[in-house]
């Protein structure tokens, strides 16, 4: 099958995913004659669908960038502890922010959370990168990432221990990861920031391709490695940060989708994989979400459960397939 045909197929799946998420999510299919159905559609399913599309695209692109920069196909925002860094930062900022009422209005309060989340994931990416230069084996980096996310988790538990009961409940629900925590008011900031950051990547296609040959060759090919790497890390952690602020840490999408993309498209051109991630990520999350809502009637399973079932076996498969780890 040609690559164009594959993209058409992806687009079809993407449309099916949107349709399912809009019309079959929740417990019953919608009957548009009454008012509550209208409310459910506009206030619950539409924002949920948009969120799933944005989160899928952003997390998989974020993972793709990390894999290229680390030259490690087992890198991803969740497995390297970057999502945990973001959620720890959110926990801290929410705790600190609960005493502060200087943020007027809904928009700025959200922007504050998003910004803390970005700061958290950026700090964590820098930390992981500084460890990565000292580590030779990809798998060791993965283990360090897991340990760091354990540490973040433990710190988060300490914060939760001191939290107010009401905010604790919200926080725990958020930290389980969900596409349904946004409403229509959230969409402008979420969509605006995500799309702008994704758009910036158009300027980084050459560096992404050059980085595949390693830093020295990339530099010899005219890429100012330090500068481009800094920007790419900022973009990757912003994407993870924005999504984590709204949806909580989402497991394995960031690592699994780029791997799937490379299996599907046997090319090394990163522009192809960027485009593929923009479809594959949303497809994965839309279907995972539909599945989470329909497996048991009147109950939504945590979406992380489903993404883990898809992502973790992929990682194991890759470890078996490549003996070089």
């Amino acid at each position: 099958m040609s690559n164009a045909a594959k993209f058409i197929l992806l687009f079809l799946l993407f449309c099916i995913g949107i349709y399912m998420s809009l019309f079959f999510g929740g417990s019953e299919s919608l009957n548009f004659s009454d008012l509550s159905a209208d409310f459910i559609f506009y206030q619950i399913r539409l924002p949920k669908t948009i969120t799933a599309i944005l989160a899928g695209a952003a997390l998989s692109v974020s993972g793709l960038i990390l894999q290229v920069i680390f030259r490690n196909p087992l890198a991803g925002p969740y497995v390297l502890g970057i999502s945990s860094g973001a959620s720890l930062a959110v926990a801290l900022s929410v705790m600190a922010g609960s005493g502060l009422h200087f943020l007027p209005g809904f928009f700025w309060a959200k922007a504050y959370t998003v910004l803390s989340s970005i700061v958290g994931s950026f700090a964590m990416t820098i930390l992981i990168l500084s460890i990565a230069v000292r580590v030779k084996k990809n798998v060791i980096l993965l283990l360090i990432g897991l340990m760091i996310s354990q540490i973040c988790g433990a710190l988060q538990t300490v914060i939760e221990y001191f939290a107010e009961p009401e905010s604790l409940k919200n926080f725990v629900l958020w930290s389980m990861g969900s596409m349904s925590t946004t409403n229509l008011q959230d969409i402008p900031l979420l969509a605006g920031s995500t799309l702008i950051v994704l758009g910036l990547l158009l300027f980084f296609i050459k560096p992404l391709n050059a980085f595949l040959l390693g830093q020295l060759y990339a530099q010899n090919l005219g890429v100012s490695v330090k500068q481009k790497r800094f920007w790419l890390i900022l973009i990757s952690s912003s994407l993870t940060g924005i999504i984590t602020a709204y949806c909580g840490p989402i497991a394995f999408v960031g690592i699994a989708v780029p791997i799937l993309s490379r299996m599907l498209f046997q090319v090394s051109k990163q522009q192809v994989h960027l485009a593929a991630c923009l479809f594959l990520g949303p497809i994965l999350l839309l279907f995972a979400d539909a599945f989470a809502h329909s497996l048991i009637k009147h109950m939504a399973l945590p979406i992380n459960m489903i993404t883990t079932f898809i992502g973790a076996p992929l990682v194991i498969y890759l470890m078996f397939k490549n003996k070089q780890w």
Binding site: L202, L221, S224, K269
Partner: protein, 245 residues
């Protein structure tokens, strides 16, 4: 003869866990167009450091290096990419990279922001692939290649970069006997026909003696550039060859 590389008052080294390790000092060298220069020296004497520094991949501790009159430093990457190409000992692979992908990467300094190649550039890539004998391996993944073919791929990338200066760090290491000779013959021809300046480090002394115009002999306490004819009488060279040649 046009001067390609000028090294004045240079001190080389690298940082290791915060400390500066000095490798070579008081370097004053110049290399001209149409010269194939072999770099010889024992393991760890600084051949790789010298090559990486000339390409601007390692910061200089002191001094200045000019390539075609352009100072090698952090601001000049984009210009330098069209002036000097390197073949290093570092390996890479995975991410679906194929032979032709790597050779095409050599065109990167000349492509647009989306990294697309035009017909003319595709021709350069094809030519480089042919010169390195890779026609039948173009679409193989890097991890499927033998070390020798990987080496050829990286050399083809350097050729595709169309630079006046090419620096090769032990490119003969994994090649089979005939391929080593093929490579040196090709490099010599490139030097003479296209007025390139090529520096090649290698432990295959007999090859260098046979094909190079000059030798850069590096020992712990001295560095000298001699015409290849004088090698057999040069003390430093004899010390490196240890009487086996």
């Amino acid at each position: 003869m046009k001067q390609r590389i000028k090294i004045s008052d240079v001190q080389l080294g690298y940082k290791k866990s915060g400390q500066i390790v000095q490798v070579l000092k008081d370097l004053n060298l110049a290399f001209d167009a149409s010269q194939l220069v072999g770099i010889v020296g024992l393991n760890g004497v600084g051949k790789s450091t010298l090559l990486k520094s000339i390409a601007g991949l390692l910061p200089l501790l002191k001094g200045e290096i000019l390539i075609d009159g352009i100072a090698v430093n952090d601001d000049a990457y984009e210009v330098l990419a069209k002036k000097v190409a390197v073949v290093l000992t570092e390996k890479f692979g995975g991410f679906n990279l194929t032979v032709i992908d790597v050779v095409q990467a050599g065109m990167m300094p000349y492509t647009n922001a989306l990294n697309q190649l035009n017909a003319e550039q595709m021709k350069v890539v094809e030519e480089a692939i042919k010169l390195c004998g890779l026609q039948h391996h173009q679409h193989r993944f890097l991890e499927e290649l033998s070390d020798g073919y990987f080496q050829r791929t990286v050399i083809a990338k350097a050729l595709a970069q169309q630079t006046d200066v090419i620096l090769l760090d032990e490119p003969t290491a994994f090649l089979d006997y005939a391929a080593k000779h093929d490579l040196l013959i090709m490099l010599k021809r490139l030097c003479e026909e296209a007025q390139k300046c090529i520096l090649i480090s290698s432990h295959d002394l007999d090859l260098l003696l046979k094909y190079c115009h000059k030798l850069l002999v590096i020992t712990e306490d001295d560095i000298c550039c001699i015409p290849v004819e004088e090698a057999k009488t040069n003390e430093a060279f004899k010390q490196i060859a240890k009487g086996y040649l």
